[in-house]
């Protein structure tokens, strides 16, 4: 089973839910942190690292001796990553998607490719839970190549939990792609509701079943509840607003380890999800 934990809005408790769920599951679990811009799963699970692997994209290198300055490469590039001047070709590596198109169209075979490191993937274990997370190199704009590498580690023999990045654009879509179910973590506030709605739009387009976990229950308003009722979206768990849980989180302690009854609740949650799938 592949479960993604997502939310449009940041800070609603995705990582909290993903980590506590992983700690509660009975079968072998793998947790993939696809929030490669700001990965946090390892901050809570503190895995013993067994592998680190750099992530590369292939960017063009122009051999000026062979280049005829025809400008075909720049004309072809959809990302404006190559500028062809009359006597010089300039590559902007941070705009390059690594598609290899410039090399394909160059009539003089003047373009080769070289690897450029954009981040790394780290793998480790924490009390039997396999943790894989990606780290986007600071200053690098594109998280998707790193997300793609993290997902290459996906082990279908295990229950897989994917901690997705916030938002509803490309990085989210790539992270949850291929999941059996998405757990949407939402807070019932106007911000929470707005961002839940747009995330629901994406998941409906992607045809992935989903349910909502309401976090910080007790603060805010009834907006998320009314919306879920109207749209026939199941609320699969509620986590109360509690200073105790917030303080545990601030110290990096998953709350199922100290608050009684929660492991059982998360286990029930997985059973309910299995029924939906």
């Amino acid at each position: 089973m592949i479960l993604s934990v997502a939310s449009g809005k940041g800070g609603t408790g995705k990582t909290t839910v993903a980590v506590n769920l992983a700690l509660s599951m009975e079968r072998k679990v793998q947790i993939l942190d696809c929030d490669v811009e700001e990965p946090n799963v390892h901050v809570l699970l503190k895995p013993k690292v067994t592998e680190r692997k750099p992530v590369y994209i292939r960017i063009p290198k122009v051999n000026e001796n062979l280049c005829s300055h025809c400008g075909e490469c720049a004309k072809f590039c959809q990302f404006n990553a190559i500028l062809a001047l009359p006597t010089e070709v300039i590559v902007f590596p941070e705009l390059c998607h690594g598609c290899g198109g410039c090399k394909v169209v160059c009539p003089s075979n003047a373009i080769t490719e070289e690897d450029k490191e954009v981040g790394e993937v780290v793998r480790g274990f924490s009390d039997g839970i396999e943790v894989v997370y990606g780290i986007l190199k600071i200053g690098e704009p594109m998280p998707v190549p790193v997300i793609r590498e993290v997902k290459r580690y996906l082990d279908k023999e295990k229950d897989v939990i994917i901690d997705a990045p916030p938002g509803t654009s490309c990085p989210l879509v790539h992270s949850v792609y291929g999941s059996d179910f998405v757990i949407l973590v939402a807070e019932s506030t106007p911000f929470g509701l707005h961002d839940l709605r747009i995330t629901v739009d994406v998941l409906r387009q992607m045809k992935i079943p989903f349910g909502v976990v309401v976090n910080f229950k007790g603060v805010g308003d009834e907006g998320v509840y009314e919306y879920c009722k109207r749209e026939d979206i199941p609320i699969i768990l509620e986590i109360p607003f509690s200073r105790e849980i917030a303080e545990l989180y601030s110290r990096g302690i998953p709350f199922v380890e100290t608050l009684e009854g929660w492991k059982a609740r998360f286990r029930e949650l997985t059973k309910r999800i299995e029924e939906y799938i």
């Binding site: 449009g8 809005k9 940041g10 800070g11 609603t12 990582t15 811009e37 700001e38 946090n40 901050v43 809570l44 292939r58 072809f76 959809q78 990302f79 998607h97 598609c99 290899g100 198109g101 394909v104 169209v105 986007l136 600071i138 200053g139 690098e140 704009p141 594109m142 998280p143 990045p165 916030p166 938002g167 509803t168 654009s169 490309c170 990085p171 879509v173 790539h174 792609y177 506030t189 106007p190 911000f191 707005h194 961002d195 747009i198 995330t199 739009d201 994406v202 387009q205 992607m206 603060v219 805010g220 308003d221 607003f241 200073r243 917030a246 303080e247 989180y249 601030s250 110290r251 990096g252």
Partner: protein, 291 residues
Amino acid sequence: MKAKQVTILSGKGGAGKTTLTASLVSLTRSCVVTDCDVDASNLHLLLKPEVIDKKEFYGQKKAKIEASKCIECGLCREACRFDAIRNFEVDPILCEGCGVCAYICPAEAINLEEEVSGYLYTSRTKYGFMCHAQLKPGEENSGKLVNLVRKNAETLAEKNGLNLIINDGPPGIGCPVIASVTGVDLGVVVTEPTLSGIHDLKRALTLLNHFGIKPLVCINKYDLNLKNTERICTFCKANGIEVIGKIKFDPIITQSMVAGKPIVEYSPDSPVSKSIAEIWRRIMKELDLDV
């Protein structure tokens, strides 16, 4: 004179960027504000903009295979670096719109199609102009739309003689964040005293340093974990970064959000509002602007 620019960012989502931005705008009044979170934008829920101009935004193109022309040779699948072609169809979710498949297709069966991927707005609020946008769900957030939002704000500031632009940044450190901070005079990082908050703060500060932007830090929910707040202060001091304010962990912030108002208007005498006013004065001083 060119308007000064400050971007509010955080690395970690939900740290309080939008809460702070809305209050800074309410305190400043004569400024242009942008919401650079074009993906999950929230600032409009507090500032209630009235849209005066809306433009379509064309972002990423997508490849499409015309089944009637396709000879099923499979060359496109081999050439695609994004594994976006399966069974002679393009998966629009995985396609990055590079056009390699269309170029190499011997049957000319593939076209790149352009679609509206979002909208760009210019609005009026009771505080002045607001520039914002909405990307369609699932689209590529390349930073292009953020650039347009910011350009729009710069034009408006210049035309109307306004000397400050406040940018509400998106979470993370990727494309849209880079687009939100390039060329600004000041970056204010909102953090929280949690281990994740500290982890993300360090990455956000490294990003600002990478682009040579002066950082200031404020700590939201500081009393949630005083030990971690102390750690943040020590870290900042050691790196020559000023912590310009600490905001209490207080449900009143959520109440103001439910009421749809910046906290400094909802509860001007609360400790939270007083801390924010202090932060505002410090930012204005840093930018050499009058309060």
